[in-house]
């Protein structure tokens, strides 16, 4: 394929834009060459080199493979149940210096950061309902509190919205911001995590003293700092991330955003609770403790009464289980007696971090053709037969394959050996993409399509098959599963 610009534009219009972005994302750090190249990612990434012609002479198979790989890549994370710091104290440090007015991230770094911050606050409290968040800004060589540490997303969002009226100016100060963050996290109880997330747009830091002393102090107070750079890698950030997260690789703690989507992904990654490292379990870092919490009931007063948290007259609210003060919203700390007040649903919201759904395995054609499952168990979309594989690759499109006709029996698929299978298999297994388009839950043995795979792991956190399997109730009660027996039962029902 010719490497001319015209050819490239042609590629873009043919391909999915997502496919393009996936490869850019996978390029990882190739953009750290400087600011001049930012606007035109095409100068450094050569997407077209990843596109290989399929056996039928088109590139559709590669494009679809890239699409699936992109979906799948987000899923393939470690799903061993890890001990996580569910109760978090996170301080978000926003760079408000002149570097943030750059327009390389649309519309500007500043406005995009504010927009993502709002989304981040909502998502953070969705994922971590019993955690605390605070926001600090740095401009003119100073650090300023934008929103104090609290558990109320609406307060944070209101405070962040106020920043829209201001302009980024001056230079940032890492040291001042970190000192302020350390002061805010100083009183965090030992059973919580202490985290700082810095969004750093500039390439300099204007500090009053030696920032290394601050870093040492952070290490001493067990504060973990994560940084998302918007321009290029900065040495001091690298040191900071390395020293405060000794057990994590740098790729997880300091990354430079390549584009808007990548920036968002990096930002949202911080909403997942961090794993508790083995070393700190022994008592010097996060400690486990038993917390007293109140589960208040909701009341509706006939006439408005003042709430204890804002002193505003309200009718609805919750009464503290210990001292019966009225608070407007949960989760919160009782302003009178300091008891943590939550709903039991808030606790339940964190359970999927503790008991993650296991990754599903790719299914090979050999296995798929033996099985009797011809459609996705979750959404009933028929799977493609082996013989119709080429046909499927031509009919591109992420969903909507209902109109594909597939052969009824599996016999045709078994006799015919596709030509390009060895090639796609080697390419596919690398990305975690199943050659047959099926993904198997190893516990219940059902096959699912890629969309259900993504949906079940990212949104529902349940396996549809495991939850609706014969005998699951007893299995949950007795803690033992007999998969073979269930498989046999299932087959006898189908036949």
């Amino acid at each position: 394929m010719a490497d001319t610009d015209d050819e490239y534009v042609q590629d873009i219009s043919d391909d999915e834009v997502e496919a393009h972005q996936v490869t850019r994302g996978a390029g990882g750090g190739s953009r750290a060459t400087g600011q001049g190249l930012r606007g035109g990612g095409w100068e450094v990434t050569r997407t077209w080199e990843n596109v290989v012609e399929g056996a039928d002479g088109t590139i559709n198979s590669t494009v679809e493979g890239l699409l699936e790989a992109g979906k799948r890549k987000r899923l393939l994370k470690d799903t061993t149940p890890l001990q996580r710091g569910i109760i978090r104290h996170l301080l978000l440090v926003l760079d408000l210096s002149t570097a943030m007015s750059e327009k390389d991230l649309r519309p500007t770094r500043y406005l995009l950061t504010l927009r993502y911050t709002t989304a981040f606050i909502t998502e953070f409290f969705e994922q971590n309902p019993i955690s605390q968040l605070g926001i600090i800004g740095t401009r003119d060589g100073l650090a300023l509190t934008i929103s104090p540490l609290s558990g109320n997303p609406n307060d944070h969002i209101a405070n962040v919205q106020k920043l829209h009226d201001q302009e980024p100016k001056g230079q940032p100060s890492l040291q001042n911001a970190l000192d302020m963050a350390r002061a805010a996290l100083f009183h965090a109880p030992t059973h919580t995590t202490r985290e700082v997330l810095i969004l750093f747009g500039s390439l300099i830091s204007s500090d009053p003293g030696d920032v290394h002393i601050t870093i040492s102090a952070l290490v001493k107070s067990h504060i973990a700092v994560q940084i998302i750079g918007l321009a290029a890698q900065v040495a001091i950030c690298q040191t900071l991330a390395n020293r405060t997260n000794p057990s994590l690789p740098l790729s997880q703690t300091y990354t430079v955003a390549l584009n808007e989507q990548h920036y968002r992904d990096l930002f949202m990654r911080a909403t997942t609770p961090p794993t508790t490292p083995q070393s700190t379990k022994e008592g010097n870092g996060v400690q486990s403790s038993l917390l007293m919490m109140g589960f208040p009931s909701r009341i509706v007063d006939p006439s408005p009464t003042l709430c204890a948290c804002h002193s505003r007259p309200t009718r609805g609210g919750y009464l503290c289980s210990r001292c019966s003060s009225k608070v407007c919203s949960l989760p919160t700390q009782c302003p009178a007696c300091g008891l943590t007040l939550i709903l039991s649903t808030h606790l339940a919201r964190s359970y999927h971090h503790l008991f993650p759904l296991r990754n599903w395995k790719e299914v090979s054609w050999a296995k798929a053709s033996v099985s009797k499952q011809t459609c996705c168990f979750g959404c009933q979309m028929p799977f493609l037969d082996r013989s119709t594989n080429n046909h499927r690759r031509q009919s591109s499109g992420a969903g909507g394959q209902n109109h594909d006709r597939i052969a009824l029996g599996m016999t045709r698929g078994q006799t015919k050996t596709p030509k390009i299978v060895p090639k796609t298999q080697s390419a596919a297994s690398k990305d975690g993409v199943s050659e047959s388009g099926r993904y198997e839950c190893e516990t219940c043995g059902r096959f699912f399509c890629i969309d259900c795979d993504v949906f079940a792991h990212e949104v529902v956190h349940n396996c549809p098959g495991c939850q609706s399997r014969e005998g699951i109730l007893q299995a949950q009660a007795h803690g033992a599963l007999d998969i073979g027996e269930m498989e046999g039962l299932e087959e006898s029902q189908n036949s």
Partner: protein, 369 residues
């Protein structure tokens, strides 16, 4: 992908409300229905349900319906049926061209031969009726007496409903002018993107109680519905469950406990027929009180004030024996839990009492910043 070729012109052609997808989860626990049979036998309930489904389909030509059975120990689709299950059930009458069709609302399918009793029956209605009845009888036939339990697998049915809704939403968005190929989680994070091409909702006809053992999976589905703004409506025919109340409360659905199960159809038509776009203009029946209290993991006692393990978030009604969490086995630090009033001086004393060297050092060191 269409953004490049200028097909944006074709967007926003009509102001019609988007079609709605009604996913009905029918609790088919035979025990509970047997108890109900003097007032509302299952057959009568199904007949009422069919009338309700027909009314839903008649609202808008593009409206869709899916029915999932939440049986004693498994959850299954009753309608639409997966492709491979149709042919064995309907005597193989549709194998004329070797193709398999999804039993979809708009396509002529297999059902025609089975119910020729009423030639004037509107075809989509008849098709749903026959498919539903066939699959339901198959389901009941394959139920063995040994698998009868007083519970029902609501969690599985809800998960199936969600994956099906996800599929339909994806299909609808790829056929609409602005394809959104992002995952649903992205959509949930991007409320400012295009309006949904489909209004999904879930209706649960629940007859059995006690779902405690499925707590975590049910909660997961509830939070998923909340993120995707899918209301869960509950028609509680008998039994009582706290979780379903919480489900409808969290997702802004309707919860109705049927005072007179005999009048099921009336409840369905009045309470559950309006879709999401209509509900803004109506005064929906709401649940009076929702029980938010938690049950402790150790004695299943309902508690106001509980103790929570900071590692696994298990709830206990009193500090467990030896300060070791019963669920995860972690050794827990016990605090004072407000036995003494929280005075500043006391707090300092508490810190000094701790043998931990770090805590001592922390108090000695002056506050930074």
């Amino acid at each position: 992908m269409n953004a490049v070729d200028g097909s944006d012109h074709y967007s926003k052609t009509s102001d019609e409300p988007p079609p709605s997808l009604l996913t009905i989860i029918l609790d088919t626990n035979p025990n509970a229905w047997a108890l109900l049979s003097p007032t509302l036998p299952l057959s009568a309930a199904i007949a009422n349900l069919l009338v309700f489904i027909n009314a839903h389909l008649a609202f808008n030509n593009a409206n869709k319906v899916a029915i999932i059975a939440s049986h004693t120990q498994r959850a299954e689709f009753l309608y639409p049926l997966p492709a491979h299950e149709i042919s064995p059930h309907i005597n193989g009458s549709n194998t004329h061209n070797g193709d398999v069709e999804m039993a979809d609302g708009d396509e002529p399918t297999v059902a025609e031969e089975t119910s020729t009793d009423d030639a004037n029956h509107y075809r989509p209605f008849r098709q749903i009726q026959s498919t539903l009845l066939t699959s339901l009888s198959t389901l009941l036939k394959t139920t063995s007496p040994t698998s009868l339990t007083p519970t029902t697998s609501i969690a599985g049915a809800l998960t199936l409903a969600l994956t099906y809704i996800n599929r339909c939403t994806l299909n609808a968005s790829t056929t609409s002018p602005n394809p959104t190929t992002t995952t649903p989680s992205d959509n949930a994070l991007n409320p400012d993107t295009a309006p949904p091409p489909l209004h999904p909702r879930i209706l649960i006809l629940s007859v059995s109680g006690d779902l405690a053992h499925q707590y975590i999976p049910i909660m997961n589905t509830i939070f998923a519905c909340q993120r995707l703004s899918i209301p869960i409506d509950i028609a509680k025919i008998s039994g009582d469950t706290v979780f379903l109340q919480q489900a409808s409360d969290a997702t802004h659905g309707t919860y109705i406990k049927l005072e007179h199960p005999r009048g099921l159809l009336q409840y369905l038509m009045m309470g559950f027929l309006p879709d999401q776009s209509c509900r803004g203009f109506l005064v929906a029946p709401t649940a009076v009180g929702v029980d938010f209290r938690a049950a402790c993991f150790c004695h299943r006692r309902v508690v106001d004030v509980g103790f929570v393990c900071s590692i696994c978030l298990s709830i206990f009604c009193s500090p467990p024996e030896g300060a070791i969490c019963l669920t995860c086995g972690t050794h827990l630090q016990l605090g004072e839990y407000g036995e003494k009033p929280a005075v500043v001086a006391k707090k300092k004393k508490k810190k000094r009492d701790m043998v931990d060297g770090k805590a001592k050092e922390a108090t000695v060191r002056s506050r930074p910043g």
